[in-house]
Symmetry: C2
Subunit: 345 residues, 2 copies
Amino acid sequence: MLENDLYLRAHRGENVERYPIWLMRQAGRILPEYRAVRAKLSGFKELVENPELAAEVTIQPVDRLEVDAAILFSDILVVPDALGLKYEMVEQRGPYFPQTIRSADEMNKLDPHADVKDRLSYVFEAIQLTKKGLENRVPLIGFAGAPWTIFCYMVEGKGSKTFSEAKKLLYTNPSLAHELLGRITDFTIAYMKEQRNAGVDALQLFDSWAGILSREQYAAFGLHYIRKIAEAFEGFPFTVFSKGALGSLPDMVDIPCTSLGLDWNMEVEYARSLVQESKTLQGNLDPCMLYADKKTIEWETKKLLNSFKSSRHIVNLGHGVYPDVDFEHVKVLINTVKNYEKKYS
Amino acid sequence: MLENDLYLRAHRGENVERYPIWLMRQAGRILPEYRAVRAKLSGFKELVENPELAAEVTIQPVDRLEVDAAILFSDILVVPDALGLKYEMVEQRGPYFPQTIRSADEMNKLDPHADVKDRLSYVFEAIQLTKKGLENRVPLIGFAGAPWTIFCYMVEGKGSKTFSEAKKLLYTNPSLAHELLGRITDFTIAYMKEQRNAGVDALQLFDSWAGILSREQYAAFGLHYIRKIAEAFEGFPFTVFSKGALGSLPDMVDIPCTSLGLDWNMEVEYARSLVQESKTLQGNLDPCMLYADKKTIEWETKKLLNSFKSSRHIVNLGHGVYPDVDFEHVKVLINTVKNYEKKYS
């Protein structure tokens, strides 16, 4: 059905002619056509909540960069928003929640009857419009934030270097923490199911703040819930990306997902030794590498490709592409991957 | 000579009656007497540059918390300041450098004749006053930022989640990056030698931003310079703390320092398996643990102590103590360590 299904075949461990590539944050400020859309709007949330425009910017990198997959333009924080915890996106500063959840009373203010179909209809509409616009060229990836990361924002109320308020709750009221994580998890499963119903071809969980927990705490407060979500999608192409959680990789091997995302601190060889051929690995180039000259980008990309000892790889950065990167540099990365002759099959 | 030299004996791998303990940022906002001193001053830098007051707040945690070592109250950014790159400490925001170094021209503006004794006389004076005030009760630790972390601030000009400007230079102009790192390294060696001359009993390098580099980059741009500094102090009690660099621990085993600092992502058992009995390990409690109730703090502390399979340990947090922690909770941690019966000798 899809003209280019390399990304999906790589997830399934099938043979692929070449390694597929896409980039986290490929739909975004690196593209002038994105900035043009964004300039017409008053804020980031307006774009997230507008299905036509969200679909438009989702498709832009497929046209311009010719990546092997599209990822829906959206925000992980639509989940707390749908649960009744509204947020604002403050220019240059990031998200801000006027209300936070640090007590049972505050948690009880969340909407117990939040209906995902109703609350996040704009996301599902954007998915349908994107699928139409993509005309079966490449698969569409849907996503959500992992429960721990969503929890961080709901408790802390904003970005933080330490997320010490969020972590504090794990020590002062672990049962409340688990209750909140459980609610986020249930809602996230419903949300991702609706994304699948709306037409996404694959799903990804982003755990941006995985790295601030010890291995033991991440097992209990992070991976426990990620596993629940992954179990609800067994058999479907599903990626778990736990940024910063190098020490927890051994605990992720038996999560029933098809792929693990790697940041640049997670060495490919080490991750491969853990998962063997059971999972596809995605990553793990340093986003700053794209600031280098084109020759260096080609050289670094080939170095990564040469390090692969398996067919089960999808090339990506180890984090979202930085907004001030020249998209011509991104093209060098993409073309290097597309022109590379695979050694393993 | 010292009444309590547990900290130094632990560094040397000698037998100790009990595990020593001190806390990163123990001289600081957790103590009301620190806040009282600070309230009288217009800014943080004023305190750093005032030898009498710096000595006073350095000694406060020895009086109040009865820790086994004092660490000089100072700032890692006195080094770029002394090299000619002035910074301001902006309340609630952190350090800010009006000038940054991103080109050879900018680097040439650094002062080539910066004399450490002259420029940082206030630090050495603070050390002498502290030693006097401590009256040989506990050892005094001097410190500096590791070259990579100092480089981050000098290039980026302020704190950052990604330090993408600093990392960019590693890709766009690696030779300039190495030149700057080399200059920081030379100056840091001179600085730490003067600290030793002024009377510190031990030294520590803090590499706060080690974790943002891949293992390969950290070896080249981080550890290479740390090793040079450690070599200049062989035989002297010397700690290297590379926060976030779990993946680089294997590369740190043969650095000629007496101790490695561990954050809470670096498991003690794993670190011990790497260093065997060649180094003392410091750490690695999660600072957020101190938000828990006293019983939990005691339990978590004992869990760490029970995990030790060697005498070569110094108890600490895996990061600086957070300013809003109740110092009575810190006392529980300290007393638990002091009352714990060591199993290994």
